[in-house]
Every structure is written in C-alpha cells, then in structure tokens.
C-alpha cells in the first residue's frame, strides 16, 4: 500500500528536482568511484605482494662430506614435509652458476674460482599459506643431520615484504576512512535534500499520513539515487582500470603485470550495489524519521 503511493511520488520527485538529483548521483558516483579505485588498487597490491612473496624459498646447504645415498635420503625427507611445495637438489656447479647469474655480469669471474669444497644445496619452495611459519620450518631443517647451513630470506625481500605489510595496513586504514566519509556524504546529501522538502513532510503528517507512508517515497528515492550513483561509479572505475592497464605495455615486465591485474568479481559488484541500495534506504529513512521527530510537539 505504501509503495502504491511511494513509487510514483518518488519518480515525480526525482523528475521535478532533476538537477539536484543528478548532482546527488554525480557526487555519490565520484566518492564511490574514488573508494572503488582505492579498493581496487589495494586488491591488486595484495595480489602482487602475494605473488611476489610466494617466491620465498629456503636453501639448505648440505655438509660437503655427505655421501650420495645420505643426500638422497635427506632430499626425500625434505621433499615430503607437509609444508613443502617443491624441492630441488642443486649441484655445486649449478649453484655457483645460479649465484653468478643472480649477481649479474660478474659470473665469469666467479666461475673461474673453482667448485672444490663447495657444498650441495636443496632449494625448497614453501606452500604460500605457511609462509609465516618459515622460521620454524627452517629451524627444523637445520636440525636435520647432514645439513650444514640454512638461508631462507634475503634482506631485500624482507624489506619488500615489510613494505607490503605497511601498504596493506595503510590501505585498510584508508578504506575505513573512506567508507566512513562516504557514509557521511550520503547521509548529509539526504539530509540536505530532505531539509529543502521539510514542508512536504510536515504537510503529509498533517493530513494524517503515518511515518511509514511518509518514508515510502523518500526511501524509494534514496534507493534509486544510490543505485544510479553506484552503477555510474562502477562504470567509472571500470573505465579508469582499463585506462590504467592499457598504459602497461611498454615492456615485458609491465606486460606481465598487466596480465596479472585483477578487477572486482561480479558477485562483489552485485554486493556493492545491494549495500548501496540499503545505505540509501537507511539514510533516507533515518533522516525522515528525525525530521518527523522535530516536527512533533
């Protein structure tokens, strides 16, 4: 019954004050768009940091005097550990070559140094989700007989990791701040546009309309505006995203990045639309109820 009055009235209201309402939609879209871009950036940073940090490996340096059978036994033991994703046995020659490659152009120099006395190593990749427990794992491996030394994180990687952790924290902080200010913006815009129509609310109340009846048209309006703003924001974010990643093609690294970027999944977009509609409905309901309280004796 309320909707029979509320929907047509809301549509008439939107048409009558179309300029103010377009403004409302735009402002909503702008702030939601910024929020969406920040969340998207955040998602991508998390995604990349996961990918990057998953490179974390443990290198086990074996005792030089270990015989091949013992080596193989040790390798089997390491390989079948539940937290280990993959393990590779590296000969001293390969190890030195890898090291040289890692260091860049000076490999010739290192390779000239000879491999006598250099140990075998086992390079271990750990399952992503257990990266936090890498210390424990490394200690466990170090305790195995036949293992001379264990290296498991390079300092630079550690720094990068820290940087990502910081970025993640700051990201959360920002997203919270923006959600709050977004809420403030929506409820403020609703309040102001209701303030301009408080006469109407007074009149409805005077001809005997109940609170729900009065709310109906405003709630419908709020929902429509919120949905329109949200859809527009999704469009804006999608366009910005395309614009940004289309710029990522100047070399292979950027192209690799481009191939890996993520966008919001559809269910998340749907959930955001639903949340926006709910927010629109709630904030107009709240504002109307408060105005009605003010009008009461």
């Amino acid at each position: 019954m309320y909707l029979r009055y509320g929907i047509p009235r809301a549509i008439r209201g939107l048409r009558t004050n179309w300029r103010a309402n377009i403004n409302n939609v735009l402002i909503l879209a702008a702030s939601l768009g910024v929020l969406g871009m920040i969340v998207l950036l955040y998602l991508n940073i998390v995604h990349f940091s996961e990918a990057w940090l998953s490179d974390t490996t443990i290198s086990l340096f074996l005792e030089p005097d270990l015989d091949p059978a013992a080596r193989r036994a040790l390798f089997g033991q390491v390989q079948h550990h539940p937290l280990v994703k993959a393990a590779v046995m590296v000969t001293p020659q390969d190890g030195l070559r890898e090291l040289a490659e890692k260091l860049g152009a000076d490999h010739a120099m290192l390779l000239g140094a000879g491999t006598e006395g250099l140990p075998y190593t086992i390079d271990v990749t750990v399952f992503l989700n257990y990266r936090d427990r890498i210390d424990l794992l490394a200690n466990r491996f170090e305790a195995l007989t036949g293992v001379a030394d264990v290296i498991y994180t390079q300092r630079l990687l550690e720094e990068v990791k820290l940087f990502f952790v910081l970025l993640k924290g700051i990201g959360w902080f920002f997203i919270t701040l923006m959600v709050l200010s977004f809420f403030l913006i929506v409820s403020h815009a609703t309040k102001l546009s209701l303030y301009a129509r408080r006469d109407e609310i007074g009149i409805l109340s005077l001809v005997g309309a109940t609170r729900n009846f009065i709310c109906s048209s405003f709630v419908v309006e709020g929902i429509l505006i919120a949905l329109a703003g949200c859809l527009l924001a999704a469009g804006i974010v999608w366009m910005c995203y395309q614009l940004l990643i289309s710029g990522f093609s100047w070399n292979e690294i950027t192209q690799a990045i481009k191939a890996q970027t993520v966008f919001f999944p559809l269910p998340a977009l749907g959930a955001a639309l639903g949340a926006a509609a709910l927010l629109g409905a709630m904030s107009s309901h709240f504002a109307v109820t408060r105005l009605l309280k003010e009008l009461e004796p």
């Binding site: 005077l206 001809v207 609170r211």
Partner: protein, 230 residues
C-alpha cells in the same frame, strides 16, 4: 457520526512568553457550527494547532468524542488527523504537485483506491471552480486559487470534523459565499465545524454561534453584540 470536542482547563504558552491561552474550557457538541474570532495574535491559530496535535498544551486536556487526544502515539495521532479536514491559514499545499494531487493527498493517505478517488476529487474541484485546471501546479496559482485548493483538500474526504483558519481572507465576495455554502452543506451532513475569521460580514451573512478569544480566554459571544458594534 460526528464528534464532540471539549477543551478543559487548557493553558498554552510559547517558549519564554506569556501564555496565549490561559485555563480555557469550552465544549462543542456533535454537529455544531462555531465561529472563532479575535484580534490578530489573539490565539485562533493556536487553538487549531492544539486541536490538530501540532502543539502540546502546557496544562489541560482536549477531548474528541470523550477521548483525551493530548498523549496519543504517533500512529494514533495520524488516525486522529485523518478524521479532521483543515484549511490552514497559510494553505500548506505541496507547491511542486498538481492541484489534483494536492486534493487527492488525504484520500491517498487513507488508502483509497485510484477509482474511488477520482470521482471525489472531480466533484470537489467542480465545486470550487478549478476543475479545468486540475493538472496545474500549485506553485503558479494566485493567492485565492491556493486557498480554494486548500479548501477542496479539506472537504475531499467528507470529514467528521472540519476546521478552517481564515478560509476567505484571499477570496472575493462571491467566491467567499460559495465556499461558505460548501462548508454549511458539510455541516448539514452532521460534521462538527469551527471557522476562524476576522470577517464580521461573513458572520453576519451566515449566522452561527461565535467564540471570541480575548485576554487569553475564550468567551461565547452573542451575534447581536457584533451586529450592534459593526
């Protein structure tokens, strides 16, 4: 069908001011017609605001059909207002809406269906002479036309109680007479009516009992006093 109205020991003051009404009591029987008069600022509108539950009295009770209405819940306040048709001194119309929509408002609020609604509105708009302008927005109407829309709205749903605050202040003489005849017709149908006015000619032309607000009190005055003083 109609409802009797009783005020008992009613006192009302606005914030930080002397009381406008002080210990006012009067009784209006079912289906009676009363004028309410008094100088500017005497408190006529205040009486209506109290009866419409737009203000709470400082002291005293208001009885509608024997029921105290001063402490109703919001939902019951809405029901209370639905049985009253009121013409406000400042019209209180939705400026953005058409004449038709404004008149339909109390019917919509009461949950009338579109079909039943249309006939009623048509009739009322014919009576006040605005039928051919029913689609026009209230914003662009003249002062008198707004007053007529406000009257049509108050009459739309055949209220049991009818209040009008200065309903002819912006109308020309012939229109004022037409409006008064509409109100009298409603009254004859059993409705309890109070009309606030300054216009002594109106009271002379359509005789009824008259309440005068003077010195914060409401007195019933005899029309003959007015006649002699005019």
């Amino acid at each position: 069908m109609a409802i009797n109205i009783a005020l008992q020991g009613l006192t009302k003051s606005y914030l930080g001011m002397l009381p406008v009404l002080d210990d006012v009591s009067f009784n209006i029987d079912e289906g009676e017609f009363y004028y309410l008069t008094g100088v500017s600022g005497a408190g006529k509108t205040t009486v209506f605001r109290l009866l419409m539950l737009m203000e709470r009295p400082d002291r005293g009770t208001i009885l509608f059909g024997g029921e105290d209405v001063t402490r109703l819940s919001p939902a019951d306040q809405a029901l209370h207002r639905r049985r009253i048709g009121m013409v406000f001194q400042d019209y209180r119309l939705l400026a953005d809406e058409s004449i038709e929509e404004n008149v339909a408002l109390p019917l919509r609020v009461a949950g009338y269906r579109a079909g039943k609604l249309r006939g009623k509105i048509e009739e009322r708009l014919e009576q006040v002479g605005l039928a051919d302008r029913r689609k026009d927005r209230v914003m662009g109407l003249s002062g008198g036309e707004k007053q007529l829309v406000s009257i049509a709205r108050a009459l739309a749903f055949d209220p049991k109680v009818f209040f009008a605050d200065e309903p002819t202040g912006n109308l020309d003489q012939s229109m004022a007479i037409r409006v008064m005849e509409l109100i009298l017709a409603l009254h004859r149908g059993g409705c309890t009516v109070i009309v606030a006015t300054h216009d002594l000619n109106l009271i002379r032309a359509f005789w009824a009992r008259t309440l005068l607000i003077k010195d914060r009190r409401v007195h019933e005055v005899r029309l003959t006093e007015h006649r002699s003083s005019a």
